[in-house]
């Protein structure tokens, strides 16, 4: 099999908690990401889902090397980038880009759309030929469904959905092979979400892009992803092909997440089983021992409270971290 575009092995990102008045010293750490391994192939979408504090966004930032990992290894296009500094990362920035949740906060309000989209080209010295530069911007705008005639406007003149398209055009400017999308549609109105989701799907088909699609909306993630990883308190608890995950989720947390999401059909809803899991996600500063989900798991037994379950391969790309599964399997 060909080398994956992105390979993450045992990634750890721990943030120090500092205490003390004069001499700041570390009194603990938040294990935001604690041993995540995943791969993304060319042209593929990996969905990353989980609730707040599960580490999905931190994983995205670490892959982009906007954060320095505490441990583990990140390889992109065959290069180990785990310890790369800014200068070393620079040429790679062309190949991996990011689209953010907030289309309001992530665009400089004083810059025209033309300059926002063109900025990455200028930064990377690809704007020497004025004519080609203008053509490129017009073509990028058309690609994401914006009229090139709007190039001289400022971000505030656009709606949320249009601003997200500007963010996507900007990410596309350098022709990346991977885009990390962090909640890219969750700030948008329902009727606009579908427009932007379709832009992502179309671009992938046309340009062969790979996405890491980070979102909390399981229906959106299901729609765009080839494979999906479910995270809970810094770890992947289950990873599988899209249809496998939704048809036969193995981890009790995956099952709970799916049961909690209502389906937009009253007839289906009336007949659905509603196994609602109790409690809330525990604090990442003091994760429970053993399996972090045991405090909420309806099936937890003694072993779950003491021993951390490893991610076990079930075949066909599905892996699950659960003692229950091992006991039954």
């Amino acid at each position: 099999m060909a080398e994956p575009l992105l390979r993450v092995d045992d990634l750890k990102v721990h943030f120090p908690i500092e205490g003390g008045m004069l001499l700041r010293k570390q009194v603990g750490s938040i294990r935001a990401v604690d041993g995540v391994s995943l791969t993304v192939n060319r042209g593929e979408t990996l969905g990353l889902v989980g609730e707040s504090g599960c580490g999905k966004s931190t994983t995205g930032l670490a892959i982009m090397r906007m954060l320095t990992p505490t441990g583990g290894r990140i390889a992109f296009e065959g290069q180990d980038i785990t310890a790369y500094d800014k200068a070393q990362m620079r040429p790679l920035r062309r190949r991996m880009q990011m689209v953010y949740q907030d289309p309001y906060g992530s665009l400089n309000p004083r810059m025209k759309v033309r300059d926002l989209i063109g900025e990455p080209l200028v930064v990377h010295g690809l704007a020497s030929d004025r004519r080609a530069y203008e053509d490129k911007i017009a073509s990028l705008m058309r690609t994401v469904g914006l009229l090139p005639a709007m190039a001289d406007r400022y971000p505030h003149e656009f709606s949320g959905g249009q601003r997200q398209r500007i963010g996507i055009a900007r990410a596309l400017a350098l022709e990346p092979s991977l885009i990390i999308c962090d909640e890219p549609v969750s700030a948008l109105d329902v009727s606009i979400q579908a427009q932007v989701v379709n832009v992502f799907v179309d671009l992938q088909q046309r340009l062969g892009l790979a996405y890491v699609f980070i979102a909390h909306d399981l229906a959106v993630v299901r729609h765009v992803s080839d494979r999906i990883a479910v995270m809970y308190l810094g770890r992947i608890v289950e990873i599988a092909k899209r249809d496998t995950l939704y048809r036969s989720p193995q981890h009790p947390y995956t099952q709970a997440l799916l049961a909690a999401v209502p389906v937009a059909d009253p007839v289906v809803e009336a007949s659905r089983s509603r196994a609602i899991v109790s409690g809330e996600v525990p604090s990442a500063t003091k994760p429970p021992p053993g399996c972090a989900f045991h405090t909420r798991c309806p099936h937890a037994f003694a072993r779950c409270r003491t021993e951390l379950p490893a991610l076990r391969d079930l075949g066909d790309g599905q892996a699950v971290a659960c003692h229950l599964d091992e006991a039954n399997g």
């Binding site: 609730e51 707040s52 709606s159 959905g161 249009q162 109105d189 329902v190 009727s191 606009i192 979400q193 579908a194 427009q195 989701v197 379709n198 799907v201 909390h216 399981l218 229906a219 959106v220 299901r222 729609h223 899209r242 249809d243 939704y246 709970a256 997440l257 799916l258 049961a259 909690a260 999401v261 209502p262 389906v263 937009a264 059909d265 009253p266 007839v267 289906v268 809803e269 509603r274 609602i276 899991v277 109790s278 809330e280 996600v281």
Partner: protein, 339 residues
């Protein structure tokens, strides 16, 4: 527990089929802005019956939240004002009440739950004092008794260890616990109507399910009416008996939930349903978005507000505004094409 006796409603038989508990008629709420006057709620009418869950669904700017605030007369004036209409609650027009009279209704017979529990709770007061405050205000109960009742209320919203929680402060609570406390506060005076404005949007999905199940269960048990304001069609499908769909400040369609999902009649309702990916949907199919941009309330077209985005719009749609018309039992649509 010995809850205060509820004022007699209009009788169960009537409550089921007859007089609604709340009847909003031709409500108009306007705001003055830099860009001129904006009609946020534009001749909105709907009914809610005792024991019923009504969902008001719409996107940002649809007027769903302003409608809720108008019912309780919580529109900041200036810049806003309720221009006309009637809000008949249990036979009485809330718009005709004095400021003191409406205060006696708020938190007592009608309670409201907001999206962000952290900004709705006072960080400097204990949770028990805030949960019990409506009892103190409306029933004049002494604080010792209020705190005992607050403890019972926290138990009713299934908070673990209510004895300890009553003396705790909001920052010691998680998001889900804060929203439980808000529900406890809303229930304090056994309201006939609870209005919940996006009560779980800020919460994780597993907690959202817990909170909405709890809210509906408690409302149904007390035969209270629940108005659930949301943008989430899944939440509507799971919890609503009846649905009001709003667009640009207007009601475009209203129907019983099953009827609405089985036979959506307004192109906007149909568009919303086609644009949302479903957990059980066909992933090979493209989503069908609603083209165009959300409406600009300061520059609405003269006719149907949805016409600029509607694939089926005709000249008539662009020129004259369609009234809400019955197309079935309790099913109404504001669309010229439905004639």
């Amino acid at each position: 527990m010995n809850a205060p006796v509820k004022p007699e409603l209009s009788g169960t038989d009537e409550a089921r089929g007859g007089a609604p508990l709340l009847s909003v008629r031709d409500l108009v709420t306007r705001f003055r802005t830099d860009r001129g006057a904006v009609t946020a709620v534009d001749h909105v009418s709907f009914d809610v019956r005792a024991g019923e869950t009504l969902a008001i669904v719409g996107e940002s700017g649809s007027g769903k939240s302003v409608t809720a605030l108008s019912i309780l007369r919580l529109i900041p004036d200036p810049p806003g004002s309720i221009e006309s209409g009637q809000i008949l609650f249990d036979g009485q027009d809330l718009l005709g009440l004095s400021e003191a009279e409406i205060r006696a209704v708020r938190g007592n017979r009608i309670a409201m739950i907001f999206q962000e529990p952290m900004s709705s709770l006072n960080p400097a007061l204990t949770v028990g004092m805030q949960v019990g405050e409506p009892i103190h205000q409306h029933r004049g109960a002494p604080w010792a008794k209020v705190l005992r009742q607050a403890r019972d209320l926290l138990g009713r919203v299934r908070m673990s260890d209510p004895d300890a929680r009553v003396g705790a402060y909001p920052h010691q609570f998680s998001g889900g616990m804060r929203q439980r406390a808000m529900i406890a506060m809303a229930l304090a005076c056994d309201p006939q109507l609870i209005i919940a404005d996006e009560p779980t949007t800020a919460l994780d999905v597993t907690v959202q399910a817990q909170i909405l199940d709890l809210l509906q269960d408690l409302a149904k048990r007390a035969n209270s009416a629940l108005i659930l304001i949301t943008h989430d069609l899944g939440v509507v499908a799971r919890y609503a008996d009846r649905v009001v769909v709003m667009y640009a400040g207007r009601v475009v369609e209203t129907a019983p939930a099953r009827e609405l999902y089985a036979r959506p009649r307004h192109p906007y309702t149909r568009g919303l349903m086609a644009s949302v990916p479903r957990l059980d949907g066909d992933t090979a199919k493209r989503l069908v978005p609603i083209e165009g941009q959300p409406p600009d309330l300061s520059a609405l077209p003269p006719g149907c507000a949805f016409a600029p985005r509607c694939q089926e719009a005709t000249e008539t749609c662009r020129l004259s505004r369609p009234p809400l018309r019955a197309v079935g039992t309790r099913h109404q649509v504001a669309c010229t094409l439905e004639n």
